[in-house]
Amino acid sequence: MGIKQWIDGWPVYRQLTGPDPLGRGTAAMSRRTEGLTARTEQADAVVRSVCPYCAVGCGQRVYVKDGAVTQIEGDPDSPISRGRLCPKGSASKQLVTNPDRLTRVRYRRPYGTEWEDLPLERAMEMIADRVLETRRATWEDSYEGRPVRRTMGIAGLGGATLDNEENYLMKKLYSAMGAVQIENQARI
């Protein structure tokens, strides 16, 4: 380390000689801080997205590194939000990276007192079996003499953060299986 570099390392010297006389900016910056870069600069990819909370539809930019979300910021290009996010939108990285998020299927058997593990494939098979059993047991060909071709034994309630494509497949499949009691947050 040269003498100049050593002297430059003193914040007080930088403060007295540099452009930061109040010592609240570059003069006070440590070597460690100097070496830091923003997560937004380190990202492997920036992906365009939309905030999942209210219905304003603020643009988001999702920063990804090594296959994980490292930061979510407002999209300045959006004519709706002009780069802004509210407290919830700003917290949405925590929504998606939250360690409390479920990653495994939880199963509670009838009269059970604890959750149990269940492989996803097994859960899907069991759910398909339940649907067909219930449909068979509760099928109505007619109601008050009119054809209805439905089951009143299966109901659904969806949230309003589902994608259009998801809602579409849901309505299509439910209708084909004969379920009519299909509802959404939109009514609540």
């Binding site: 539809g57 269940l118 339940r130 067909l132 994608d163 809602n167 299986m177 299909i182």
Partner: protein, 898 residues
């Protein structure tokens, strides 16, 4: 708006910087009020009186935009002689059947040249015997009845039975004095609002109304919106820049969830679900709309294209395009009806997907009792929400009403993918579709709903392969061959969007005008047709705002046809000229023979303003070039609704179901056709004047906080947000705190006939006592985000609510109900039930209820909580020393003391 839609509120601030007057009408003083020029505290549940006052002000002072009103609204239409208004019938309209508690809408129709009613067979009756519980405004209201006879009109608006004169008489009683009496808004404050609204409306200026969907959560919710629509139509504020009525919806794709509905009464694009009685076949299903003028006249093309999208080659002309594959409805199958059917044991299986009804729906106890009586329950969410865990730690476990060992519900809790972990589109509150690109793969077993439903459908179809049972045909014939990719076999969301958009012989369709009724086009949602025009995903359009004007047609895609302001034909006068240079938006270019301007025209682009339909013209061709409201049979905005609503052709003030006040206008207190369900766990607080009403002397309303989201599933698990809003609280005025002995930061218990909950007390001047009908009325404010799970457990405010619904749309009255509030924590365990029972039975008055209280007490062996007439603290207050809710030691599986 600043609280619940903060980033949208920046545009209100922009308008304010340009000189706009901002008025905020809300029971509470909020961050929005802080930025507004005027804050108007209002008694919750009285908005029709307030808006009706504005309508009356406009009509009395002749502030309506007369040319617009005559040309573009149904003000000149003449009504039948036998129509009777609420003034004559003490709060009822003609056609009321007191036994069935329903209206026949026959007398609400226009008078016609042929002397008929204007509708087929005297108007389409609102109800028939088997439809007593059915609200089907989608069927009734699609643009009006198909009419062969032309309605009688009076363009001078002088005929005593023309809509304009009827409106004038109807709202004449909504004077500033009445507004003050009903809403608690002082006359001078009301007049300042009226002056601001009218001074900023007309040829040169426009006024916008923004509402959050709390407006819909009343037993007269639809009529709230109708009142605003009447006002805005009278002022010429629809279809013009800076005007409109903006619904600030509360979820990322709640608009999309309505357009492509997971709703029982709708198919995609607002087509009704077929009804077993009315729609035996495709012809009967499309017939009522096919005869109409306007775009609903193409009903058969929309329907056949949907059936082709779902059942592909199996759908042919010969088999009615598989219309019989659709299950049929028979009345009300709404979410609250379903929950009661769960409790009754009729519903066995339940999918709950990204929703938390155990906290978010009215009367959460009913919800949880329903969940506890299922055979199986599938919950899909990001975290373990209360709806998934009700069987081990729900409020009924604490009270001993339910025990895990006795709940037979099999629960599958499946992890869901987040918004960054899948491709797909949201439709925001402006009808704008915006595509999200997948950033990362979901972890572990987490999957998108697209994955779950695609693979569930695949499994069902595999299991049924080879079945000859006709009931399995709809599943086996279904078009279900979506391309999948990756090791998880994720379906391609863009392929689904393309199916929604629709395809014809030449690939993706460009507009719904291309849809045909012969089976040559397939389209999953006709109003979304064009989002994939030219085989390009237009929802993903992202031209930066700096590179286009503020209409921003190349950012996302708005239905229909990428139009950004609906009914924008109304921004020009009947001849096609802008109403003013200042408010220029769309106009007719005579030289080029087409509509031009900054937006996509909301009228056929080459339809001349002078175009008049021939006698045999149909659908959109049957509307003139001067008719902006192209979804309506008459092309006009409806000041008076000759059909489409079940509770009246005009809005009129009724009190909320639970209100400590009588109706200042009529003997009829509440909406005469409001919908409710009788159930022992859904009792109502006695209304004004009934014995026991004084036990619930206060009004509460529920709302959102900036830092939380709805039932908490997306916010109560986030440390940042819980630091910002760490605890459930209630807002009360200093005056109410004084009256009831409530102390800031200590506990209060809020009680209704359903239950009692506890909250930290926030004593604040943001809540203001109102002078209503000569007395002081106190309101309590409750955010509704909390439940027993997450990082900040708290009681759910929605548990206080009864299930009482708007008859048109079955939405619950969540924004206005009566309650009591008292200091201290609520009782724990079985004592809570006794405490509430005391309130319930006390409300019925007389000797018998007292006996019942006694029985209840002895049966449960609990100490009577004591009535509160003297306002003095009672035994209950001692509960304030109990341990806080999160560490309830006795909540699991404890049997009730006996």
């Amino acid at each position: 708006m600043a609280e619940a839609h903060p980033v949208g509120f920046q545009w209100v601030m922009e308008a304010k910087l340009r000189g706009a007057t901002v008025v905020h009408v809300d029971p509470r003083y909020t961050r929005t009020s802080a930025q507004a020029d005027l804050h108007v505290p209002i008694r919750t549940g009285t908005d029709i009186a307030f808006l009706g006052g504005l309508v009356n002000y406009v009509l009395t002072h002749q502030k309506d935009f007369r040319e617009y009103v005559v040309a573009y609204t149904n003000a000149p239409m003449i009504l039948r002689e036998d129509f009777r208004d609420t003034d004559e019938l003490d709060g009822l309209f003609s056609g009321f059947d007191p036994e069935g508690r329903a209206y026949s809408t026959e007398t609400w129709a226009y008078a016609t040249e042929g002397g008929g009613s204007g509708g087929e067979e005297g108007g389409r009756p609102g109800h028939r015997g088997h439809e007593q519980e059915t609200a089907r405004p989608e069927q009734h209201g699609m643009g009006g009845a198909s009419t062969a006879d032309r309605p009688l009109t009076d363009p001078t608006l002088r005929h005593p039975r023309c809509v304009y004169q009827v409106l004038k008489r109807h709202f004449a009683r909504y004077t500033p004095e009445l507004v003050a009496e009903v809403c608690g808004v002082p006359e001078e404050l009301f007049e300042r609002v009226a002056e601001a609204v009218t001074a900023n409306s007309g040829r040169e200026r426009t006024t916008a109304f923004c509402y959050a969907v709390g407006w819909t959560q009343h037993t007269v919710g639809v009529q709230y919106i109708r009142t605003a629509a009447i006002l805005q139509s009278l002022l010429g504020n629809i279809g013009r820049p800076g005007g409109g009525i903006m619904a600030l919806r509360g979820h990322a794709s709640i608009q999309g969830s309505t357009d492509i509905p997971t709703l029982y009464n709708l198919l995609p694009g607002y087509l009704p679900m077929p009804d077993a009685h009315d729609h035996p076949d495709l012809a009967a299903y499309v017939e009522p709309d096919s005869q109409k003028a306007g775009w609903w006249g193409n009903m058969r093309a929309y329907t056949v294209s949907l059936l082709k999208a779902w059942w592909g080659e199996a759908a042919t002309e010969d088999n009615d395009f598989c219309f019989d594959h659709l299950p049929k409805t028979t009345g009300d199958h709404g979410t609250y009806r379903t929950v009661l059917d769960q409790i009754a044991g009729k519903v066995k299986g339940y999918f709950v997907v990204g929703e938390n009804p155990a906290v978010g729906s009215a009367n959460g106890k009913l919800q949880r009792l329903g969940l506890a009586n299922l055979d199986w329950l599938v919950v899909r969410d990001l975290v373990e929400i209360e709806t998934a865990s009700f069987w081990k730690d729900g409020p009924e476990i604490e009270t001993g009403e339910l025990r895990p060992e006795e709940i037979g519900t099999e629960v599958f809790l499946l992890p869901a993918a987040s918004h960054t972990e899948k491709d797909g589109s949201f439709t925001n509150t402006q009808r704008l579709l915006q595509w999200r690109h997948k950033a990362v793969e979901p972890a572990g077993d987490a999957r998108s709903e697209l994955w779950f439903y695609y693979h569930l459908g695949r499994l069902l179809r595999e299991r049924l392969a080879g079945s000859t049972d006709p009931r399995d045909r709809p599943l086996l014939d279904l078009t279900w061959d979506y391309p999948v990719s990756g090791e998880r076999a994720e379906p391609d969301a863009a392929a689904v969007l393309r199916e929604i958009n629709g395809v014809g012989p030449d690939g993706a369709l460009s507009t719904y005008a291309e849809l045909r009724d012969d089976g040559s086009t397939a389209c999953g949602c006709w109003i979304y047709c064009g989002v994939y025009a030219g085989e390009r995903n237009r929802a993903a359009a992202r031209t930066p705002r700096s590179e286009q004007d503020e209409v921003a047609l190349d950012w996302g895609w708005a239905w229909p046809a990428n139009r950004r302001i609906l009914y924008n034909r109304a921004s020009a006068d009947p001849q096609g000229r802008p109403w003013s240079e200042r408010k220029r938006y769309l106009w007719w270019d005579e030289e080029r023979g087409r509509w031009t301007g900054r937006d996509v025209p909301d009228i056929s682009v080459d339809k001349h303003p002078d175009y008049r339909p021939s006698e045999d013209a149909r659908a959109q061709e049957a509307l003139g070039g001067d008719a902006p409201f192209i979804m309506q049979n008459d092309g006009r905005a409806w000041l008076f609704a000759p059909e489409g609503t079940l509770d009246g052709p005009l809005p009129t003030h009724y009190e909320p179901t639970e209100s400590p006040c009588g109706n200042a206008l009529y003997g009829q207190r509440a909406n005469p056709v409001l919908q409710t369900y009788r159930h022992p766990e859904n009792p109502l607080n006695p209304a004004d004047g009934a014995p026991g009403a004084d036990r619930f002397p206060y009004v509460f309303t529920t709302y959102r906080l900036t830092e939380h989201h709805t039932a908490g599933g997306m916010s109560r698990t986030l440390p940042y947000l819980n630091e910002l809003q760490p605890e459930f609280f209630c807002e009360v005025s200093p005056e109410l705190a004084e009256e009831r002995g409530l102390r800031h930061l200590e506990w209060a218990t809020i009680v209704t006939a359903r239950t009692a909950i506890e909250a930290r007390v926030l004593v604040t001047r943001r809540m203001r006592p109102l002078k209503v009908r000569g007395r002081t009325l106190h309101q309590v404010g409750l955010p509704y985000h909390w439940g027993h799970g997450g990082l900040s457990p708290g009681d759910p405010a929605n548990d206080l609510l009864a299930v009482v619904l708007d008859p048109n749309v079955h939405i619950q009255e969540a924004k206005a109900a009566s309650c009591d509030i008292r200091p201290g924590r609520r009782p724990r365990g079985p004592a809570l039930l006794d405490f509430v029972a005391e309130y319930r039975s006390g409300g019925e008055g007389g000797a018998r209820p007292a006996d019942r209280v006694h029985e209840g007490q002895s049966a449960r062996g609990a100490e009577p909580p004591g009535p509160h007439e003297d306002g003095a603290p009672d035994g209950h207050r001692g509960n304030g020393h109990r341990p806080p809710a999160p560490s309830r030691p006795d909540r699991r599986g404890r049997k009730r003391d006996r």
